[in-house]
Subunit: 187 residues, 2 copies
Amino acid sequence: MVANPERRAQITDAALEVLGANGSRGLTHRAVNRAADVPTGTTANYFPSRAGLLLAMAHRIFDRLSPEPDRVTQLADLPPERATVEYAAYATERLLADSTLALALIELRLEAARQPEVRQALEPFLRQGFTDDVNFHDGQGLPGGRPAVLVTHHLVMGVVLDALTIPLDPHQSPVDEVRQTVAALFT
Amino acid sequence: MVANPERRAQITDAALEVLGANGSRGLTHRAVNRAADVPTGTTANYFPSRAGLLLAMAHRIFDRLSPEPDRVTQLADLPPERATVEYAAYATERLLADSTLALALIELRLEAARQPEVRQALEPFLRQGFTDDVNFHDGQGLPGGRPAVLVTHHLVMGVVLDALTIPLDPHQSPVDEVRQTVAALFT
C-alpha cells in the first residue's frame, strides 16, 4: 500500500467524528470506514492497531485545535497578566467551538485509562504537548510557571466537560468563568 | 416482581463497575447480569430502560461518594477560609479513592451528551445536587457563593479526569493542587 497523507487525514477525522459522537466502544474499523466513506479494509490498512489509530487521532486533535497564528500574535502584544487570561479563554473557546473534537479528546483519555497500550501511545505525546505549553508560557514571560499552566489545563478541561455534557449552572458562560478564575489566580 | 432494595443496589453497583471499567458502550443488560452474578433478565426486570438504570447509577454514585459525617463535623469547626479549602481537598480525595466510581461519573456525563433521554433523567438530579452544595456552602458561611462552588466543581473534575487517565505532570499531587488553588482563589 502506498501511504496517502490526505486519505490518512480523512480516515483520522472520520474516526474523531465516530469517537466524539458514539464513544470509544463505537470506534470500530467498520464504523470508521463507513464514516469516511472508504472501502472495507481501508482503515485497517492505514491503522492495523487501535493504539496507532488513537495516537494519530490525538495528533490530529491538537493540529485541528491549534491556535490561529494571527490571534497568537495579537495576544502576545498584551501585557503578560492580560495575555495569561486571554490565552486560557481562547483555549476554552476553541474546545467549545468543536464539541466533537473536545469530547473525542476526553474519550481518548478515558480509553487510555482502560487500555495500557493506548496509554503507552498517548502519554509521551500529551506530556510533550504540556512541556511545549510550559516553554511557550515561560518564553512569553507569563506568570506562575509550570504549576500555573497545569492548573489552567485542569480548569479548562473541567469547565469544558461540564459545558458539553450537563452544565451545572447553565447561566454561567464557560469562557467568562475561565477568564475570571485565571485573572483571580495569576494577576 | 417484588422489588428488593438490596438486589437493586447490587445491580446498580455492578453497573457502575462495568461502566467505570469498560465505558458506556460496554454497559449492556447482559454485562451487568454477569458482573452482578444474577440470572438472565434480572437487570432488565429492575431497569427496563437504559435511562432509568443510568439515573439509579447517578444516585448511587452520590450516595457512595457522600462524605463521612464525622469528617464533615471536623471541617465545620475550621475557620471558613480553611474549611473551603479542606472541603474541596476532601471531595478530590473521595473521587480519587474510588477511581471506578469517578470514571463512571464522567462516563455518565458523556452518555448524557450523546443521548437526550439520559440527559433528561440526569440533568435535574445533578442540578439539584449542585443547588444543595451551594446551600450548604452558604449555610456554613463559606466565601464566594454560587460561583465559588461552581468553579471548585470544575477544577476538581478537571484534576480528577487528568489524574485518573494520563496525568500531565505526574509529580504534582492532585489533592495539593486543589488545596493550593482553592486557597489562592477564596482566602
